[in-house]
Amino acid sequence: MSEAFRGKASVKRLQTSVRATAYQKEWFMGLKDRVARGEPLAFVNADVPQEIFRAMDIPYVVNQWWSSVCAAKQMAPYYLGLLNERGYRRDLCRYCSLSLASAFDPEPEKGPWGGLPRPSLAVTRITCDSQAKIFELWAQTFGIPFYALENTVPIRVPSKWWELVPYDWEECFDRHRLDVAEEDYRGLIRFLEWHTGRTFRETQFRAIMRRVNEMAEYFRKTRDLIAETVPAPVAVTDTMQTVMISQWQRGTDWAVETAKSLYEEVRGRVDRGESVCPKEQARLMWLGRGLWFNLGFYQHFEEKYGAVFVWSIYLAIAADGYARYGGDPLRALASRFAGLEDMLHMPPWNSDWIVKEAKHHRISGAVHLISDSCTQGAGGTYFIRKALEEAGVPVLQLRADPVDARAWDESEAVAAMEQFLEQRLGVKPL
């Protein structure tokens, strides 16, 4: 393994986070057992409607989740090296290809938690130029079938989409886009029926959709509580992993219970007056993907400056982007995924929303992680900065890959952050 930077894990403040982190390993080991007993395993991209797989009781692993696990376990430099040895250049997409890279390991059992079991099929969505290629290479590596969902582009730009999407989603998205996504989903279900022999259970699907709404409601309450409480009761390091582990378990009772537990634990801290930094001096936004190989990075600034990262896309989009009520459930599911790309990565969808969130959270400054090797993950950074700065929120842009520690310069990033805090936000060390 190359001499790459080794990141630090964050110190967990919440029992819910501890339990969620422990659960994901327990769940993964259970999944491995199921696969070992002959059940199918789907390997899917993050923007694939996982609710369908759950309704068919098909175990699945999410590409970006496995990437984040590999990164957190400090395996990314080794795996990405294997990809590079096969002729793929070092600065190609890494967040979405790290799992592919891990498939080239001659000793896969040495991977995180004994490695990823052999999948039976792969499903992605063509949201960028590389997705279909990465997934086809993945599928060829294991000799398994793969399905690529289409991606469409919205023409309308709804005002304040976050107010419309839970109930008025049919009006929020172009109808022709929902029509074609529904048809695509039917094709996916047929593909899964054919290749796994499993059945799509409508009653199960409706229950899953209801649970996803319940989870989103708890996340919204948690987000609102954090936004409205000064000093902040928790930081992004307390929520990011818990939210994402729940998100990958979306539609289960466990996910609802975890979201509820997160809310109750944060509520308890608020009621008891507990905070990350009693002498909170700055409330920060972390824009872009999480720094998965180095989650301890965020906490340095709490200790030295009383600067707390209170906002990340993970809890915020879980609060505003997922809930869907009414209508046909498959069409409602189509509307969930019709908008996520725009909400997160496309101006003015993302810039308007981020400014709304900055005001709600009383944000002092925003730090934007920009990954140069991925256009998708850093959409509209100019327009986001412009919108935030016009709203009085200074922005620092940091360039790094969320999973590749090889190019991370800790001292440079810390120096940039400290300069930002001291010079742009006027914050002095505690």
Binding site: R86, G87, Y88, R89, D91, L92, C93, I126, T127, C128, D129, S130, A132, K133, I134, E136, L137, Q140, A148, E150, N151, T152, V153, I155, V157, H176, V180, E183, D184, G187, M346, P347, P348, S351, I370, S371, D372, S373, C374, T375, Q376, A378, G379, G380, T381, Y382, F383, K386, R399
Partner: protein, 396 residues
């Protein structure tokens, strides 16, 4: 062997002049009261624009030596946007295309989808930048009936939009005429390819790139007229010698790279990128519903890297190399153009099995700032191809 007729030389010079932007038929068209619509994305059907009486022109990038960079594009685009997109965005954000009545973009790449959002956001937040009003043509690429029907509906919407821009109703006859004009131009360009792939070739790759590119920068009828003049004289063009090279990878908005390759002792006999042969590949059926036929033509062409799997690209490349009887392949890939970088390793393997070596020039910066070094690499590669051919290793 006779010298080519002066008129053919002049026709070629004129086509090159249009391609290089020295002659601007689009500006003349606009000055004469015509509607000029820019397009960016290889799925945009020129036929619909021609049928409404518009002049469609492809958005082209600034020519950059690698020293000036793209200051306007750098301001708005993340570094993950590739060199060609930056070069084109530079002209848009620099106001050079402010005269366009509209710009139609399609989702022929992820970057282009983003460009549409950014242009729209720019118009909303910084109107002083003067970018033309963008229209998005949402075109799917999977070869499914679902995608085909979706595309038909979007083409009908585009037709209505174009009618609103021009105030002219596009009739079935208008469409049929436009299809015929565009098809005729494609047939002539296909004939040019025959001279390009002849043994020995009579048309070089750099020249062909200029001729093909000019078709997307001027009225089709005039381009076809000039092309006919060239083709009549093509048999008398001097034969070209050199290693027969096929170019894959990124698209090119200028002849510089081809000129460099050919100056090293090669003839570029074909390519699979959007500004070369792929531009005129495939005809629109003239005996079917025009909208259906137009959509089919754009939907079912050979795959472009940004919208295809690796195996589709590998199969297409191997077949095209075989048809051109190319001895070698150069994959020239602009910096941050990820799609062809994903294709290259498997393409190289498949070509090696077919006895065709491939030189991968990846992460290429704008312009040719390292021209001497690059020339050395290409010359060395071509020398190895020649040596291999002399030793009987060329299995074309």
């Amino acid at each position: 062997m006779t010298e080519p007729n002066v008129s053919a030389v002049r026709a070629l010079e004129r086509l090159k002049s249009v391609y290089l932007g020295e002659e601007r038929p689009d500006v003349s068209w606009k000055q004469n009261g015509g509607v000029v619509v820019g397009w960016w994305g290889e799925d945009v059907p020129e036929e619909l624009l021609v049928a409404a009486g518009c002049l469609p022109v492809r958005i082209r990038g600034v020519r950059d030596s690698g020293k000036v960079g793209f200051p306007s594009a750098d301001k708005y685009l993340e570094r993950g946007f590739d060199v060609l997109v930056r070069a084109r965005f530079e002209r848009l954000a620099g106001g050079e295309y402010a005269y366009l009545d509209r710009i139609v973009l399609s989702n022929s790449s992820d970057a282009l989808v983003r460009v549409f959002y950014y242009l729209r956001a720019l118009r909303a937040t910084e109107p002083e930048v003067r970018v033309p009003e963008p229209y998005f043509y949402d075109f799917m690429h999977s070869r499914s009936r679902m995608a085909a029907l979706y595309n038909r509906a979007r083409a009908v919407e585009l037709k209505k939009a174009v009618e609103s821009w021009t105030g002219k109703t596009v009739s079935a006859d208008d469409l049929a005429r436009a299809v015929a004009v565009c098809n005729e131009n494609r047939r002539l360009l296909a004939k040019l390819t025959e001279w390009r792939t002849a043994d020995p070739p009579r048309i070089g790759g750099a020249t062909a790139l200029c001729v093909i590119g000019a078709a997307a920068a001027m009225p089709k009828e005039e381009h076809s007229r000039l092309l006919r003049v060239v083709l009549e004289e093509a048999p008398s063009f001097p034969p070209l010698s050199g290693v027969r090279v096929f170019v894959t990878g990124s698209a090119h908005d200028g002849p510089d790279v081809y000129e460099l390759i050919e100056s090293c002792g090669a003839v570029v006999v074909g390519e699979d990128h959007e500004t070369g042969n792929r531009y005129f590949e495939g005809l629109v059926a003239e005996d079917a519903d025009p909208i259906d036929a137009i959509v089919d033509r754009y939907h079912l062409r050979s795959p472009e890297s940004t919208r295809a799997t690796v195996s589709e690209r590998v199969a297409a490349l191997v077949e095209q190399v075989r048809r051109c009887r190319a001895q070698a392949v150069v994959a020239y890939i602009h910096a941050a153009d990820d799609a062809p970088s994903w294709d290259a390793p498997e393409q190289a393997k498949a070509l090696a099995s077919a006895g065709v070596p491939m030189l991968v020039l990846d992460r290429r910066p704008p312009g040719l700032p390292d021209e001497d070094e690059l020339r050395g690499r290409i010359a060395e590669f071509l020398a190895s191809v020649r040596k291999r051919a002399e030793n009987g290793g060329d299995r074309r």
